[in-house]
């Protein structure tokens, strides 16, 4: 069932991804085609306006030039009829307005209109001067009533109308057109685009609806997509955490098992001695002839007593080892809590004594920390076991004659932190190795000896406890690893110093 729903989910994710990939181009296409459609219809409307203006020019040319007053009156009349929705003005060349529409509202509406007005006028002037218009105008307009020239369609279409049209047509934008209607007069007309093309608002509205629908779908799909991605991330990080936990656990086991192998050996020796001593006692007791001689019996009893003392001593040695082990096992708490790093240091040191002894390494413990650290004791223990094992490995290659083999485990207080360092007198390591020492699978040990994970895991564990693991190394002098952990703040030491002294004694 989960399989089914998850495959459905994957399909939805795929669909949303495809949609998101297409949404951008679709939206762009919608906007561009919408704009060009509106512009197309708008330019049809402009054509009408343009022709109206040319009509004015033709009509004006046909009026009697001698009656200036009445000519302007007729012009005003026809302007009113031709541009009922727009505003217009007629200006004299080099002078002011001669005629002006009653409804200059549109002019007020656009603050940039003056500039556009000037631009349109200048355009109309230069257009009129730059072609044959003047000559034709003179030829046609010079003779009143001669409409032959005006009736020619070619001439009509060639009357230059200067336009200022917004590049993206919106209903509230103004359209400017200017034309020179005679030598002395220029006509400028401006119109709301929306008035020329009444359905422009609707057209834009349609474009808007399509764009909005696309945007809304895009939003929905990106929600689907991001939730899917988030889920994948969460799943992946959970998986990684699980894997990390496994690696840490494996390292803990291997660190422990190395130590336990050493300890088993450590226990083996006293057990051998005890077995042999017991066997010796049996040997003595098996001696039949001794029983008859009291003097020999006394000697034998003394022998037996000596054996018993040895057995006891060796038994106590075993007990100490098992107690240490039990204490270690009890400290395996993986939650952050105040932890006495001095005790952990001493435990690990005493459990490492066997291996250190076999390598003739001198173990020195210097516990100066007075504040407990806030960390998971199991982690601190694991880190210290790793560091200790590394330090002993490092000393294996050091010739005894050259340098004293020594590992110093030191704890001390820092500013808000507690530090635990493990220093060996090994060969140290070069800078290149030091830089990579915390990388997973990096190892300086021969193949088959180290996994290269001990320090990487120790580093990760230190970070997990809000601490830090650093290394200092001088070639030929030794290496020091320092574990820094946050100290438990403003809290007196949970176990008093005397107990600690008692433990070490």
């Amino acid at each position: 069932m989960t399989q089914h729903s998850s495959s459905q989910y994957v399909f939805r994710w795929l669909a949303s991804r495809i949609f998101l990939l297409c949404a951008g181009p679709l939206l762009l296409l919608a906007l561009v085609s919408g704009k060009s459609l509106v512009t197309l219809y708008g330019s049809d409307a402009l054509n009408l306006l343009r022709n109206n203006m040319r009509g004015i020019v033709a009509q004006f040319g046909m009026l009697d030039e001698t009656h200036k007053e009445s000519r302007l009156q007729v012009l005003e009349q026809s302007l009113r009829i031709q541009f009922p929705l727009g505003s217009w003005t007629v200006t004299e060349t080099g002078g002011g307005h001669v005629l002006i529409s009653d409804a200059p509202a549109a002019q007020n509406k656009a603050p940039q209109s003056i500039e556009q007005f000037r631009f349109a006028q200048a355009g109309a002037d230069s257009a009129a001067n730059s072609n044959t218009y003047d000559a034709t105008y003179d030829a046609a307009g010079g003779t009143a009533g001669n409409a032959a020239g005006w009736n020619s369609g070619d001439f009509f279409a060639s009357i230059p109308v200067v336009e200022v049209v917004p590049s993206v047509p919106f209903p509230d934008d103004l359209v400017w057109m200017a034309v020179k209607i005679s030598r002395e007069y220029t006509l400028t007309v401006w119109h709301r685009y929306g008035a020329l093309f009444p359905d422009m608002g609707l057209a834009w509205g349609m474009v808007g609806v399509v764009a909005f629908a696309l945007l809304a779908m895009g939003f929905y799909n990106s929600l689907v997509f991001s939730s899917y991605v988030q889920e994948r991330f969460a799943k992946e990080s959970a998986l990684r955490r699980k894997l990390e936990q496994k690696v840490i656990e494996a390292n803990r086991l291997s660190a422990m098992s190395t130590m336990v192998a050493g300890i088993a050996h450590e226990i083996n020796t006293p057990v051998s001695v005890m077995t042999e001593e017991a066997g010796w006692v049996q040997d003595l007791l098996a001696d039949q002839e001794v029983n008859e001689n009291s003097e020999k019996r006394d000697a034998r009893d003394a022998d037996i007593a000596r054996s018993m003392t040895t057995i006891r001593t060796q038994g106590e040695r075993c007990r100490e080892i098992t107690h240490n082990l039990l204490r270690m096992a009890r400290k395996g708490v993986a939650d952050s809590a105040p932890v006495d790093i001095n005790a952990i240091a001493e435990d690990v040191v005493s459990l490492s004594r066997h291996r250190a002894g076999a390598l003739s390494v001198l173990l020195v413990t210097d516990t100066q920390a007075t504040v407990p650290a806030l960390a998971a004791s199991a982690h601190v223990q694991q880190i210290l076991l790793n560091l200790m094992s590394n330090a002993l490995d490092a000393l294996e290659d050091v010739p005894v004659q050259d340098r004293e083999r020594q590992v110093t485990v030191r704890t001390e207080d820092g500013e808000g932190v507690v530090m635990l360092s493990v220093a060996d007198t090994g060969n140290g390591m070069p800078y290149a190795a030091k830089r990579r020492i915390f990388e997973p699978f990096f190892t300086t040990k021969p193949a088959g000896k180290g996994t290269g994970l001990g320090l990487a895991i120790s580093y990760a564990l230190a970070r997990r406890n809000n601490g830090h693991l650093s290394v200092e190394s001088a070639q030929g002098e030794g290496t020091t690893f320092t574990l820094t952990l946050p100290a438990v703040e403003a809290q007196p030491r949970f176990s008093s110093g005397d107990e600690n002294v008692g433990g070490t004694a």
Partner: protein, 125 residues
Amino acid sequence: MTNAQRLHVLLVDDEPDFLSVIARRLERRECTVVTAESGVAALEILEKQPVDVVILDVKMPEMDGIETLRRIRSGFPETEVIMLTGHADLDVAISGMALGAYDYLLKPTDIDELMFKVRDAAKRQ
């Protein structure tokens, strides 16, 4: 008969308690036992007096059992060596066999078995 003769055994181990008790028990089984607490001491003793069998602990500080074995085999080829080992060093003991040790025994060992091996080794000699 060789059985009537006392066997000369050199016992090498870094644990004094172990040395003393094994020595006592071997003495009781018609052996003359010399003890050494390190490989170096063992070699010194071998220089001075001939020994039939060496019982050698594998794990010792300074000169370990394998190194001692190598030197005994090269310096005193007549002497047979029996290795004593804990479980953890079983591989070492087996590699010791390749170096010419007569046999190996796991600690803690049964004294009669040890005695048996010592006699066998002495016979081979």
